[in-house]
């Protein structure tokens, strides 16, 4: 595998289904988008994100339900706060903010999922692998 991977945390109720819809519509996106299913974007611990980068991922994608639509009401609001603070911290640690992306994809948004996945892959390709010493 040449291209470093992008670990993508998808929430069971919205973005995971959105990714399924993209599959159903046979939309394409790069094979380095690697999916880990969680019940809610609120489950995504900053420790997961950093661990993924440490294990060799060039980027991490976190996709949750649109604000106001979280299946568990408010998990995505926490995800938003953590992601923003984590990205700020990572930037200070020399890791480009673009390497961690939090976005919202609804269950029916196959096209949107593919768009975000493709964008993320392109951005990571331009940034290059994350070489941690």
């Amino acid at each position: 595998m040449n291209e470093p991977t992008i670990v993508s945390f998808l929430c069971n109720w919205c973005s995971y289904e959105g990714a399924d819809k993209a599959g159903g519509a046979r939309l394409n996106y790069p094979a380095n988008i690697r999916i880990v299913r969680v019940m809610c974007s609120g489950r995504v611990d900053p420790e997961f994100v950093i661990q993924a980068l440490k294990e060799g991922a060039s980027g991490v994608l976190i996709l949750g339900c649109h604000p106001g639509d979280c299946h568990y009401k408010k998990g995505n609001y926490k995800a938003l706060r953590r992601a923003h603070l984590l990205k700020k911290t990572l930037k200070q640690l020399g890791i480009e903010e673009e390497r961690v992306r939090l976005d919202w994809v609804a269950a029916g948004e196959g096209e949107r999922f593919a768009k975000v996945a493709n964008e993320m892959a392109e951005t990571m390709k331009n940034l290059g692998p994350l070489e941690l010493s």
Binding site: A31, C40, D45, P46, A57
Partner: protein, 640 residues
Amino acid sequence: MAERIGVYVCKCGPNIGDKIDVDAIVNEVKGIEDVAVAKSHNLLCSGDGLKFLKEEIKNEKLSRVVIAACTPKQYEVKFMKACEEAGLNPYLMQMTNIREQCAWVTPDKSAATEKAKSFVIASINRVSLQESIEKKKIDIQPNVLVVGGGVAGLEACLSLAQKSRKVYLVEKSPCIGGLTARFEEVYPTMECAPCMIAPELQEVLQKENIETFTYSEIEEVVGSFGNFTVKVKKKARYVSEEACIGCDACLEPCPVEVSNEYDEGLSTRKAIYLPFAGGLPNVPVIDKDNCKRFKGEECSICKENCAFDAINFDDEDKTIEKNVGAIILATGATLFDPKELPQYGYGKYDNVLTAMQLERLNASNGPTGGKIQLKNGKEPKSIAFIYCVGREEKGYCSGICCMYSLTLAHLVKEKLPEVKMHNFYTDLCLPKKEHQKIYKEAMEKGIEFIRSEEDVTVTDGGEKIIVGTNGKKVSVDMVVLAPAVEPNADTEKIAEILDIPRDDQGFFAEEHTLMKPFATALEGVFVVGSCQGPKDIGDAVAQGGAAAGRILSRLIPGEKLELEAKVSEINEDLCSGCNICIILCPYSAISRDAEKKIAVVDETLCRGCGTCVSACPTGAARAKHFTKEQIFAEIKGVVR
């Protein structure tokens, strides 16, 4: 003992088989430690496939299973069931998506194969750390508490009461029936409201499995879905419900007269009173705040006039405790007070009324026996209705005011055919299939409709009142305001007792506007009727039935309640009582144990989102089936 993992990669016919080199994956993972067997199959979800899977589990003595196939959202449940049938705990299986999220989206076969392989290996890593989980089952109380005896509450009571389930109805006022009992005729059928609900009232009061507590309020609720303990305060009525036969002989002699709130202040009542004629139960109540005797003076006139010794001055408030499995809140709403908008002249001019006051004037059990009259007793010759009073201030349309105003206009016109009516509206809200007709008929009856683009003004016209807008002015005898519907004082109080959220307007917040409009974020607590939001009688009744339906299907007498498996659990030895998780739970599933100084998860309420687990600063909280170790193991696999 080493694990024996079985890895099964489905070809899904050509869907996966053509796009991914399944055999290459199978061959590679065979060599991974603890993988006892790795095979491919053409169609795992078929009857043959499931049979194959079950035989594999038994014959190969597998302790874990990985299935790489289509999206788990489709068949995970099916495969979990197959595992269970083969004697393997369903949570020791991991299903990974190599169809929708791999084969169907990756055109290059070798790239797709690499990706799928990483998913399979990730699942092998993860499944090794998974634990068997038994869904907990708890004993439940099938009984239900209904708070509020209006139409929504009544419907809920009647739907729920059955042989092995008791319903406790708690009503704050002395009589049940809510607002509806105080209307004369209701739209769209224009039928007599008290007659309409009379059968329900009788049934509720007489049905064996319904226990009604009038003049009572809930004070405290502890516990959770399936097992609530509720403290009800039954206020002292001072009149025995058993002994009283409803002859009303005690009412007339009472020397005290106070404003009657049930007639919207249009009449007076005694200190011993029935809210309105025909109120049920037909047992008066003593208003101890206004009764001479309770204020320290000597008086027992009512008791002296009671031939059945039903009056007991020594009656006391009682606290009654009940165990129930679910609670339905049907506490209704109230009307916005137009005094807050002085431009409408309410409280300033004698003959500016609210629609509810007009309802009471119109009611045969009201202060005038149904006669529409001005303060001076004369019949009005002209009436102006002003719609949307408070709509802008509230920020929402109450959805019933246009209809009740039209209804009142019709009813008044029937009694006073010569009366001139002018309806000042901004937008007309006529939502249902019967409503437009009523508006048309009103127009045909000569009722004038004036659309006001700017504010309606109400000014002194000497003997008359001047109402105007857009340069048009009318001079009328009576002005009727249609105020918005707003939450009543009980909503805030009860929300605090139950710790349930309210929306921006102060109504109880429903769990989901479209899919669960009758539930709250607190499992087992339901909201029906206008306490959840303004609505008409039909909608309130429907909502009452909906909540009852959910309870009927989940709290089955004699059966245990199955809980969510993937809940959060907090390790007592690590939890340091920082309280950070408590505010994060949208279902109020986490509370503080003051004695142990730690947080505790109520498994009946936890829905397994994991938000508290990722926030937990000590790692004391753990998400079953989605632990940190399992996710780390999965990450390690997918980054290949």
